[in-house]
Amino acid sequence: MYRFILRRFLWLLLVLFVVLLITFILMHLVPGGPWDREKTLAPKVIEALNRRYGLDKPLWQQFTNYIGGVLHGDLGVSYSYSDRNVTDILIRGLPKTATLGALAFLISQLIGIPLGVAAALKQNSPTDYASVLFSTVFASIPGFVLGILMMILFSVLLHWLPTSGWGTPQQLIMPVICLAALPAAQIARITRASTLEVMRLDYVRTARSKGLREDVVRVRHIFRNSLIPVVTIAGPELANLITGSFIIENLFAIPGVGRIFLNGIASRDYPLIMGGVLFYAFAIAIMNLIVDVLYAAIDPRIRYD
């Protein structure tokens, strides 16, 4: 198990390096640099800016300098956020994004799993239909549309909640619901399908014929096994939610990582783009690793030796 984790970790480093290299190349291939504006800067000013940020050096040297910095924990300074350190910018944005993501994850699980299980246990009942309706509706409405609808209803019409911003619990409600809606719908659907499948398996019939009580069959035999596909998508889902949603953060004016990253791309803020990509790649890889480890805990057939 430890060797497995170690091996995966070494792979991770290689993956991150390749991701950075590709990002660096793409970033410089995309037309338009950080100083391209409608109102042109004087050539001497552009020269001075390039020198200030090391952009006057050849590309390979810029890349090796950057990697050297990363190895020392320095992600460089942002051009578009007043020379602030990229590490510092990401660290300040992270708690907000993570709070939002963790809450959305929790809510999506708390709604999705019971809904899916309930639907499966009472297949073709009104409960089932309600669950399917829920998952279809929320799987098809994009988050920003839901966000705008809620904003109109709860802020503009009813004046119950602030439209956007950060700092009070009320400001969390709408973005969390927006973020949770889609995963909750997906989880409900998957849980339902996998529960239905597990219910028909031989060992469930065996458990019942052994004379086990129905609730024991449901919890120990059906529920536990039906969770495997749910855990599979929960990992990337958690990574996805914790690293944040560009659109939802932007819509609700939340000072999180996603919004910062998006602004970084728009302004061709190279260090911020690289830092953001590094952060995302790292977060997703780690979450996937955690999921793989969790598999072993849930499914007795999986072992890492």
Binding site: V30, G32, V45, G167, A253, A266
Partner: protein
């Protein structure tokens, strides 16, 4: 685009209902006699996007000015009619009061001895010397440094990055700015510059505290971890008390302010990038002023509850459609004129811009010296003339015309503008326009490299004078000349205009220069932008000018009060 369309099909139905529920308010934003402060004197405004920097020497974007203007006062400033007025300077330097030497090359500015920093210490000429030299610091790379290259030695110091520290120090010392005594500043120019006083009213040369820069380094204009701004000491009416990056700014009055103290006790800037959200926040009373999302201006004007809250004002901004005149087919002047006659600007403003803005037929906007309402009427919308000119250009009814294309940023109302142009050229000239959308930075790169063919272009005043409007954009090889336009007659006039000290003669020169440009039509002049915002009726005396920053009325927040 998709997002806003969905939002508005929903919102247009619901807004009226919401106003019925909340109870509509009536009133006007400008102060009338009898208005006086009452209730809590606080205001919340939307900055629209986070800034790069609020270090005055380095700032260049409008939202940065919106922050800086509250905290700093310069030597001079613009009043609500955009005339120069003294601020920290005791008077406006003139030849008569010996503030300007007879040759126009030496400026001697006397300071107002009452002026202090927000911590109570006196402002001296040294504070300005420090700031003006720092603008040229080669390592700082201040974006507006080039505006001040007429100061003796400025450009040399700015270009000295490869020199040794000793040489750099010598170049810095040689800059023609010095403190004669605590209350007298002397600035030497290489050549006479008639608009230098206007440059003294701009943010890059606001005074800066050397001790703060020494203590905090370049982070002097950065918030501490708790959002406080210990190094950010200014001399303006407000203090920036808190800056939580990407979230909000809080300003409170500067209790040591040496001028008329402001009435507002708190200004909050929030950052809502999405225009739809800002609008919803306004309707939910989270903002005291907000723009409306593009395309909804007309429904807003028709709304009986919202229309009294509308504030409109002309801006010193002109938009045009610039041709790449270095490449066929737009190297053909008659073809450019034909296209200019084929575009119905009034219909564009009405259909695409929601009726906001005014038709422009020349470059310098109304509200500025040298604006000429009669100029450009030869190329006003006139389909018959357009067809004649097209035929004169060698393409009767468009026959033989090569493919023509229009490049635009795929955001905001640009795609609608592009579609509108396509339709106009088809209807009025029978020619097909190929539309080529780009990401905005990509478009800038394409245009700056002169690899475009035809594109949208806007210019806003750095300061309200023709010399900020003509030579930089239409001079041969000038920095903002994207069209590749080159006319020796224009260049001769521009060289004279930049140096002429007699203001009447000077304005005549620029007026003549503009005539040449309009006749050559390196761009189709389309419209002058107009501010269109909603403002709560309790906000009083908030005057919008043509040179505001990101927020309409931000130049004079010091005069605003609340009547609730």
């Amino acid at each position: 685009m998709k997002k806003s369309t969905i939002f508005f099909s929903l919102l247009s139905v619901l807004v009226t209902l919401s106003l019925l529920l909340t109870g509509a308010c009536k009133g006007s934003g400008t102060a009338t006699t009898g208005d006086k402060p009452s209730g809590e004197q606080t205001i919340t405004l939307n900055l629209g996007g986070e800034v790069n920097t609020i270090d005055p020497n380095r700032a260049s974007w409008s939202n940065e000015r919106t922050v800086i203007m509250q905290v700093f006062d310069g030597l001079l400033a613009f009043d609500t009619s955009l005339n120069l007025v003294p601020m920290v300077a005791k008077e406006i330097p003139t030849v008569a009061n010996k503030g300007i030497s007879a040759d126009g090359k030496t400026y001697t500015v006397k300071l107002n001895t009452k002026a202090t920093w927000s911590d109570g210490t006196k402002i001296t000429a040294k504070d300005f010397v420090f700031s003006m030299k720092r603008v040229f610091d080669p390592n700082l790379a201040a974006e507006y440094a080039s505006f001040y290259f007429d100061i003796v030695g400025g450009e040399d110091y700015f270009s000295s990055a490869d020199k040794s520290a000793t040489e750099q120090a010598a170049l810095k010392d040689a800059i023609g700015v010095r403190a004669v005594n605590d209350s007298t500043l002397e600035i030497k120019l290489i050549d006479p510059l008639p608009t230098f006083l206007q440059l003294l009213a701009l943010w890059p040369v606001y005074p800066i505290r050397e001790d703060m820069v020494t203590k905090y380094g370049e982070n002097w204009a950065q918030p501490a971890a708790d959002g406080s701004m210990p190094g950010y000491i200014g001399d303006g009416p407000f203090i920036l008390k808190e800056w939580v990056q990407n979230d909000h700014y809080t300003f409170v009055p500067n209790t040591n302010y040496w001028g008329t103290k402001p009435t507002l006790t708190k200004i909050t800037y929030v950052i809502k990038e999405d225009a739809n959200v800002a609008y919803a926040a306004y309707l939910n009373n989270e903002l005291d002023q907000s723009g409306v999302p593009g395309g909804t201006e007309k429904t807003t004007m028709a709304d009986p509850n919202l229309s009294p809250q509308i504030q409109r004002a002309a801006q010193l901004v002109t938009y045009g459609l610039q041709f790449n005149v270095t490449k066929p087919p737009f190297d053909n002047k008659t073809l450019r004129q034909a296209i200019a006659c084929a575009i119905d600007r009034a219909a564009y403003i009405d259909q695409v811009r929601g009726g906001v803005g005014t038709v422009a037929l020349s470059w310098i906007p109304p509200g500025m010296p040298d604006f000429d309402a009669t100029l450009g009427t030869d190329f006003a919308f006139n389909p018959t003339k357009a067809k004649q000119l097209l035929s004169q250009a060698g393409y009767p009814n468009g026959a033989g015309l090569p493919k023509i294309s229009f490049q635009y940023a795929n955001s905001g109302t640009n795609p609608t503008l592009a579609a509108f142009l396509q339709e106009q050229l088809k209807t009025n000239l029978g020619i097909d326009l190929v539309l080529e959308p780009y990401a905005s930075k990509e478009l800038s790169a394409l245009v700056n490299a002169k690899e475009f063919s035809w594109a949208f272009y806007g210019w806003g005043a750095d300061y309200p004078d023709p010399d900020n409007w003509l030579p930089q954009i239409f001079g041969t090889g000038a920095g903002n000349n994207k069209t590749g336009y080159s006319n020796p007659a224009f260049d001769t006039l521009a060289a004279q205009g930049l140096k002429e000290l007699d203001n009447t003669k000077r304005l005549k020169i620029w007026a003549d220069a503009q005539k040449l440009v309009v006749d050559d039509q390196p761009m189709v002049f389309v419209f002058n932008r107009e501010t269109f915002v909603l403002r709560k009726p309790w906000v009083k005396n908030m005057v919008i000018t043509g040179m505001d920053g990101q927020i309409a009325g931000d130049m004079f927040l010091r005069d605003v009060f609340i009547q609730k």
